[in-house]
């Protein structure tokens, strides 16, 4: 097995025992990137020189035996909406094409402190708005399992990079499923933590009350190790929680005895692919064999989740994206006659179609006369959805659902129909609205000629119970081989 194909769990002991250097490991990742990027296009920028410098620094840490963590020397990819000091952070938008932040996102700073190696910034739907990474202003990323298909989105670049072994682990952000859906499509593990578990400082905001940063890994254990590094209170983010962070690695027990797995009937409805349903039901059965108890539950407000999300998220986005006006930084249209002209042309040329659509949706939802009917009503439904989960968690410890209704779809298949695109997040949106943690992990494959497509199992837990997710997901992973299968590239 090539170095770049391995996991943190496998690599960390080798690095620490100095049987392997971070420079060697980083080189193998960079080689893989060079070989595959023409086809996969997961990265918007590769930090080759910087990565090798960071690797050398990691090797010095091993040599001195100081500040060594499980992430020291591990090549990691960052979604390009996470601010990196001195390195472009574009959000895959023309409007931030040349923006270089003078600061690191808190998660980036934490990874740096841990000695992780940054190999590059990954592609995304512009400002994380989309479900296929096709809304990037710069490139379309391919699904490593079938290059004709999308990797999902918005963190499609990070998911594809992990799936194609173009990095060991990656960070993404999840506002309505943007980590879990691409993790499912690409056959890797992706976690959206509890809202407030990970600092949002330096994550370019899409919808502030829904955004969370989370890890992509090749295994559940790798995600737990990354979470150990990035989770926790940050004074720079008022919404980050002061709740103590447990050691997630110690939650990785292969044991689900006595745990109740809730299966919401509202998630197994029309539009759900037969193969996905079979795989997910199979996963629940497997967990039952392993000692868990499957119980049917109800989340009655599920049908309203997508509509609620498409009021809340665009409303916040319309305000969050107002700052990109050409005045202070970023793209500015040339030859303006006056300030209004400058604003209009900068934003007209700088934003892509989907971003403009959501800005308009959100502006409308917040406008005088519509605020009560749309935004406020959406907030109320959001509360009801949250309550659904609270009630459900009285009957179960974790909820199991499909991550998305279908496996990865073809590039271009849904770009003309925003509603169809929005519905690909139908199972992931509720966890963001409720602020609860959810993970996606491989649970099977759909037939697709010579290119089988991964199917994702989503597990959802109560607030701050990432440990429960890790426990159940790890147990399932240990009992199955889906995560071991690699795409043929």
């Amino acid at each position: 097995m090539h170095l770049n194909e391995q996991t943190i769990t496998q690599l960390a002991p080798l690095l620490q025992a100095r049987k392997l250097s971070s420079v060697e490991l980083t080189r193998s990742v960079l080689e893989r990137i060079r070989a595959l990027e023409p086809r996969v296009r997961a990265y918007l920028s590769v930090m080759e020189t910087q990565a090798l410098h960071m690797a050398e620094e990691a090797d010095r840490r091993f040599k001195r035996g100081e500040n060594v963590t499980p992430l020291t020397g591990i090549p990691v990819a960052l979604k390009d909406n996470l601010c990196t000091q001195g390195w472009p952070t574009t959000c895959a938008s023309k409007i931030l094409q040349n923006f270089v932040p003078p600061y690191d996102a808190t998660v980036v700073a934490r990874l740096k402190d841990a000695g992780a190696v940054f190999v590059g910034k990954t592609n995304l739907d512009e400002f994380a708005m989309g479900s296929s990474t096709e809304n990037s202003a710069f490139q379309v990323t391919a699904n490593p399992w079938d290059l004709e298909r999308v990797p999902g989105g918005s963190s499609g670049g990070s998911a594809a990079a992990v799936a194609a072994d173009e990095c060991i682990a990656a960070l993404g952000s999840d506002t309505g499923g943007s980590i879990r859906q691409p993790a499912g499509f690409c056959g890797v593990v992706g976690l959206k933590p509890t809202y407030g578990r990970v600092s949002r400082y330096g994550l370019v905001a899409f919808a502030s009350s829904l955004d969370q940063i989370g890890p992509f890994g090749k295994t559940v254990a790798d995600c737990a190790l990354v979470m150990n590094c990035i989770a926790g209170r940050d004074p720079a983010d008022s919404t980050s929680a002061s709740v103590a962070v447990p050691d997630y690695a110690s939650a990785l027990r292969a044991d689900v005895k006595g745990l109740r797995i809730g299966v919401p009937k509202e998630y197994f409805v029309e539009g759900l692919s037969r193969e996905v349903e079979t795989a997910v039901r199979g996963a629940v059965a497997r967990l039952a064999e392993l000692g868990a108890e499957a119980v049917e539950i109800s989340l009655p407000h599920t049908p309203y989740a997508v509509a609620t999300y498409y009021l809340c998220a665009p409303a916040e986005a319309s305000s969050n994206l107002a700052r990109y006006d050409g005045v202070h930084y970023g793209y500015r249209a040339a030859d303006q006659d006056n300030i209004i002209d400058m604003y209009t042309r900068t934003r007209h040329d700088g934003f892509g179609t989907e971003v403009k659509r959501r800005i308009m949706l959100g502006t409308y939802a917040l406008s005088a006369g519509y605020y009560d009917a749309y935004y406020l009503k959406a907030l109320k439904v959001r509360t009801l959805i949250k309550r659904d989960f609270e009630q459900a968690f009285e009957l179960c410890d974790v909820i199991a659902t499909p991550t998305s209704p279908t496996p990865a779809f073809r590039a271009g298949e849904k770009t003309g129909d925003p509603i169809q695109m929005y519905l690909s997040d139908i199972f992931t949106i509720s966890a963001n609205l409720a602020g609860i943690p959810a993970i996606s992990l491989p649970c099977g494959f759909a037939q697709n000629g010579g290119h089988p497509l991964p199917i994702g199992l989503q597990l959802i837990a109560p607030v701050f119970r990432e440990d429960t997710l890790f426990r159940v997901a790890h147990t399932y992973e240990q009992a199955t081989d889906f995560h071991k299968k690699k795409p043929t590239l």
Binding site: T89, P102, A205, S318, S319, D325, H328, Y329
Partner: protein
């Protein structure tokens, strides 16, 4: 047609904190452009605000001093509008669960106390400043963001004010209250206190008019009053002609002495307020509330009472001295150094109030409380006479030198040395034998003429009491 004005105020006051309201940048006036800035107040991508607790406490204190009902859970909202001096293109403010509501400010009009209702008090962030080049045809403007993110307290009154005098009393009263709360410098010339006016006219007893004119760009209290006079005249004329003034927002043009329409009702902006998702609600629990009440500084009426009861000042003096906190502080600082409250009060009221005003604060004076205390001390010890003190004072005002120094330099020290005065007394009696005789014959007034002569000889430096005493003794042959 008998009409009365219906006036309300929106007052913005920058809070006196070391740092800005949502970041750690310095809150300072007059620094070089864009030096007190960071990614947060520059509104860069991905940054987040963190509430400055000190700013919040000053806002809370002011809301309590204004007798507001305090929201137990207060939240922030975003006010969305595009302007180059507003880097995020939204202002973090409060709209739905504001800090304080339904308060009042007491003002005094013709010896009677009136309450002006306070609709709400809320905390927000200030914007930066656009700087337009003076070069003709320049195709650019500059932005200075030093002020962006400075904590701003907005105090919105009810339309309870009914005259120019009440408006003036309200402005003075609010300014004084903000100073007593130690919440703001209230320097209008630096923009730390800004008034906006809304005004309409009605027949007394009628319901509130269905229009109102908001006036912005008022740089001083004087401008506010001029704008008020102008609008009262303009609206009265329109109404008398049977026309209704338009509902609009207007800018005051101080040079032209008139208001100009900025936008009409149709052009009213929709700020699309919604809850700020980047900040959490502030929960003011009972303990915090009690602490805030306990820590409320002494307010004007309390201080006035104390000046009367403890320092023995006449009510009139105490009132005037406590009208502004800096003046009251100035007075008390001087009294602490020399315990003669009434004399110090007299000096402040006769000599200092002449030079103080909207532009000149006690802090700006070169004569510090220590100087004034020393001056009164010298009079009280007999080192100089009150007359000499009056001669010395203009010099002190101008140069900020200690009175001792000026007295010494000008040779104005009072002659309190008996032997030095004895010879003068002998000379004066010898030179005015008939006046001396008149005194001996029982004409007490004659003594005054002799004192005058002696003063002349000593160029006014003789200690008057001592001189009197010596003359009397010598004439009586004691």
């Amino acid at each position: 047609m008998e009409l009365e004005p219906v006036i309300g105020f929106e007052v913005h006051s920058e809070l006196k904190t070391k740092t800005k309201v949502f970041c750690g940048c310095k809150n300072a006036f007059g620094d070089p452009p864009n030096t007190n800035v960071c990614p947060v107040c520059l509104g860069m991508p991905g940054v987040l605000p963190v509430l400055n607790r000190r700013a919040f406490e000053l806002a809370l204190r002011t809301a309590i001093a204004l007798h507001c009902e305090i929201s137990e859970r207060t939240t922030f909202d975003r006010k969305n509008y595009y302007y180059p001096d507003l880097p995020k293109n939204y202002q973090i403010s409060q709209q739905y669960a504001v800090l304080g509501r339904r308060g009042y400010l007491e003002i005094e009009i013709n010896g009677q106390t009136r309450r002006v209702g306070i609709n709400n008090v809320h905390l927000e962030e200030d914007a930066g400043k656009n700087v337009h080049p003076e070069t003709a045809g320049a195709r650019y403007s500059l932005v200075d963001l030093n002020r962006a993110g400075v904590p701003l307290l907005e105090i919105v009154s009810e339309p309870d004010i009914r005259s120019r005098d009440e408006a003036e009393a309200y402005m003075h009263g609010l300014r004084s209250l903000l100073q007593y709360c130690d919440a703001s410098d209230c320097k209008m010339q630096e923009g730390s206190l800004r008034y906006e006016l809304n005004i309409s006219m009605r027949r007394p007893g009628d319901p509130l008019p269905d229009y109102r004119v908001e006036v912005k760009n008022l740089a001083s209290m004087k401008s506010v009053l001029r704008a008020l006079d102008y609008e009262i005249r303009r609206q009265t004329r329109l109404l008398e002609e049977g026309r209704k003034p338009a509902r609009e927002t207007a800018l005051w043009d101080d040079a032209a002495g008139e208001t100009r329409t900025m936008r009409s009702k149709e052009g009213a902006q929709d700020y699309r307020y919604f809850p700020e998702p980047d900040l959490v609600e502030v929960h003011i629990d009972r303990a915090w509330m009690e602490r805030a009440r306990a820590e409320l500084p002494e307010l004007q009426h309390q201080r006035c009472k104390r000046f009367v009861e403890q320092l023995g000042l006449p009510e009139y003096d105490a009132r005037i001295l406590t009208q502004s906190r800096p003046l009251a502080d100035y007075f008390e600082a001087a009294v602490r150094l020399h315990n003669n409250p009434k004399a110090i009060s007299n000096w402040i009221m006769t000599e200092l109030l002449r030079v103080l005003g909207e532009e000149v604060e006690p802090d700006d004076l070169k004569v510090r409380p220590s100087h004034l205390a020393r001056l009164v001390g010298m009079i009280d010890s007999g080192a100089i006479s009150g007359k000499i003190a009056k001669q010395v004072f203009p010099d002190m005002l101008e140069t900020g030198r200690m009175p001792d120094e000026i007295v010494r330099e000008k040779g104005l020290v009072q002659i309190s040395d008996t032997s030095a005065l004895e010879s003068v007394v002998a000379e004066v009696i010898a030179e005015n034998p008939d006046v001396a005789e008149d005194y001996r014959a029982g004409k007490d007034k004659a003594l005054g003429r002799l004192v005058g002569q002696a003063m002349k000889k000593t160029r006014g430096q003789a200690n008057p009491q001592l001189l009197n005493e010596l003359l009397r003794k010598t004439l009586r042959g004691e």
